[in-house]
């Protein structure tokens, strides 16, 4: 319990520090949202008026405090470019990205652990070589290119899946594979090496000597003990999936958070950037927190120390 509380406190502090950092960085990068909104031909006085209506003529500290006050009341402000409330849009985009990340992660975890275990069990066989080949491909192919290849083959040539959108379940298949492939590779490699290590431990040798059934050795004794590094990897990968969805979302015109963030940065839409980054940071912190909790559950030694 004390451990959980300690982790929560540090999470809140990280969140606060990040909110300040985010705010400062986006105001510091060159570019003026008023100028972008007013358009290329606009006169100086027009730009000035726009800047006033956007509230950007106020001192930075005042803008920050106002924004923070709003956030505490669940109000992320109004987008500088679309003039619409940020929260409803952000919520939809966030859920879309979460959905895609969960599908991508499910694909990566199940296939990754499966392939990893297989290649550890059949170490130095053709199965092992195949899994490692998949892992190498997954890790080295750029997301953008994978997406394009998938579309070329499955949408244009075979006509099975749509190129874009998120209307039917079919439209989730390609983006999920595209987004999950990299994580799949990382998880496969981690599972393989972790399993190999555990399989050489004395207690596994003992278990085999004792004549325990093979599945019980592999899944109850070996995999469970090999899980700690795998879970860390999965946790980190999920964070990356959420934040790194930009490319996949751009290729598949998937209305998610990553694309929203990039569009907002291009328009220098400060409140929208702040809100989406804050959400991403929060997700990272929560995922890390859950990973820590999972350690806690899996590793009894931590429990006594904590």
């Amino acid at each position: 319990m004390k451990y959980v509380l300690k982790r929560l406190c540090s999470a809140v502090i990280v969140l606060f520090v990040m909110s300040v950092v985010i705010f400062l960085i986006i105001h510091w990068i060159p570019g003026d949202p008023a100028e972008i909104y007013a358009g290329t031909g606009a006169s100086a006085s027009t730009v000035e008026t726009v800047r006033k209506t956007m509230g950007l003529d106020r001192p930075l500290v005042v803008q920050y405090v106002d924004w923070l006050k709003g956030v505490f009341q669940g109000d992320f402000g109004i987008s500088l470019s679309t003039k619409e409330e940020i929260l409803p849009t952000l919520a939809t985009k966030f859920i879309n990205t979460l959905q895609l990340s969960v599908y991508g992660a499910a694909f990566a975890i199940i296939c990754g652990i499966g392939l990893g275990v297989l290649s550890a069990l059949y170490h130095n066989t053709i199965i092992d070589v195949f899994s490692m080949l998949v892992a190498i491909i997954g890790i080295s192919m750029p997301v953008y290119w994978v997406g394009m290849l998938l579309v070329m083959v499955f949408s244009i040539q075979l006509g099975i899946f749509p190129v874009t959108g998120n209307e039917t379940w079919l439209s989730y298949v390609l983006p999920s594979i595209c987004i999950g492939l990299n994580s799949l590779a990382v998880i496969t490699r981690m599972t393989r090496s972790s399993m190999l290590e555990v399989l050489n431990e004395d207690y596994i040798v003992t278990a085999v000597a004792k004549g325990l059934r093979k599945p019980s050795i592999y899944f109850v004794h070996a995999l469970k003990n090999a899980m700690i590094p795998i879970i860390t990897t999965i946790g980190m990968q999920f964070g990356y999936l959420m934040g790194g969805s930009v490319l996949t979302e751009t290729v598949f015109v998937y209305p998610g958070l990553g694309k929203y963030l990039v569009d907002s940065i291009q328009a220098r839409d400060y409140p929208a950037i702040q809100a989406s980054l804050l959400v991403l940071v929060t997700v990272f912190i929560i995922v890390n927190f859950l990973v820590d909790l999972a350690y806690f559950m899996l590793n009894p030694r931590l429990r006594s120390e904590g």
């Binding site: 949202p33 909104y37 296939c111």
Partner: protein
Amino acid sequence: MKRVLTALLTLAMVLSMAACQGKPSSQVDTDNNEPASTKVVMTVTAEIITLDPQVNAGGTAANTVRQNIFEALVRIDGDGNIQPSLATDWSIDETNTVWTFHLRQGVKFHDGEEFTAKDVKATFDRFKTNEESTRAYYYDNLKEVTVVDDYTVNMVLSEPQSNFLYIIAYDGSYIMSEKSLQRSNEEISKSPVGTGPYKYKESTANESVTLERFDDYWGDLPDITELKFVTVTEVATRVNMLRSGEADLITGITDEDLEYFENNDDYSIMYGNSNRVGHLSMNSKRPGLDNILVRQAIEYAIDKDAIVNGILGERGSVAHSVIAPLTYGYADTELYSYDPERAKELLKEAGYEEGELSFTIQSPDGRYYKDKECCMAIAQMLNEVGINAKVEVNDWASFVAKVKAPEESNTVDMWWMGWESGTGEASQVLNVVFAKENFPPAGWNAMFFENDEYETLKNSVLKTTDEKEQLEMYARMQELIMEDAVWVPITVYNECAIYNSKLSGIEITYTDVVRFTNAKIS
């Protein structure tokens, strides 16, 4: 045992694939995969930020949607001529300040209101009252709009303005219903009310806008019943959408992508004559570039034909002035030809050794067709005459911040841009971009171009009512800019649209906007 395990894990893998697929297949909505033949989807290349015609934000993407919702009193056709639209005829009084427009009768707005003079007044009055109208500066000279009777309206100017009809044809002058303007700015921006052939149906922020046919439209009805504009920023995705049938019309394609669609009867390719001029600008206050001989040397060093033929292909033609031939007031004022030897002589005359000069060219990142590729070619050409040049690519917001920095902190030597005459006549570029009052940060005269004769011409050209005299003035203005060599006009862009051959009657306006008013489906 091992075999069982293998089977189990394989099963797990297969299940994981199924898990990715989410909903059961019984819920597939087949309607989505095969759009009815009268529904048309067009991709736009950027976010549609607002549909309010009095707001500048949103660029070509927003203008494309607006073009199909609204009409103005007059419009400019594909040849640059003014044609009747919501006004059937017009006249000007002998003081050259009062324009009288006779309005078309029997025109209905999308909200069911009858179109009359009061709507015209309400539309233009909004520029004076609404602080958020970023296009208001176009109408500074419009003193008042008075209703004569239901179908006659007078527009009173403070002083004569010979490009006024062009301003009235411009996107900002779209007529909205008086009733709809009583709503909040947010509502107007989301679902504005016009008289055009399509009316607003629904939209999803940052993603798409859907219009439906307005069956009470006064003109001939188009065949399209539903017109959807989807934002797709990635060019390869746009191409794939057209090939898979998810989109019916796409723009913003590269020459390389055209190959598949050429000689393919299923698709039509169309080029529009744009009035956007892609050019290299030079900051005449920077060391080295403050010498006119150096600037002229650069004019001679650049092979425009090579850039247009080698990089732009069908998407550009060689420019011979700072504005495009389609723009009213254009004059061919080319003073320089490709002559690297002459360039080297000029540099020597200016007192610079080979390799002594170093410049950086700032390029936007894909805002204009192949902008950075053009910049890289230019850098190479400058290197060949002994000027060290490199290219820096910027996202648009950073680009604007750099170029529009005030003189004392401006470190930009050269930059690539493509100015468009949105109003279809010369003053929008000549009187604004090159005006002395528009030195940064006020405006875009980051060339710091300054010429007394030019200022005099600029201040009187719009008050001149004699057409011949006015054209001469515009020609002289273009000549003065070319003599001072602050711009190297390189190309006049052509917008390109590829669409499903079942569509016909598509037009591309001079502002790169696709117009579906006369669209037919076969």
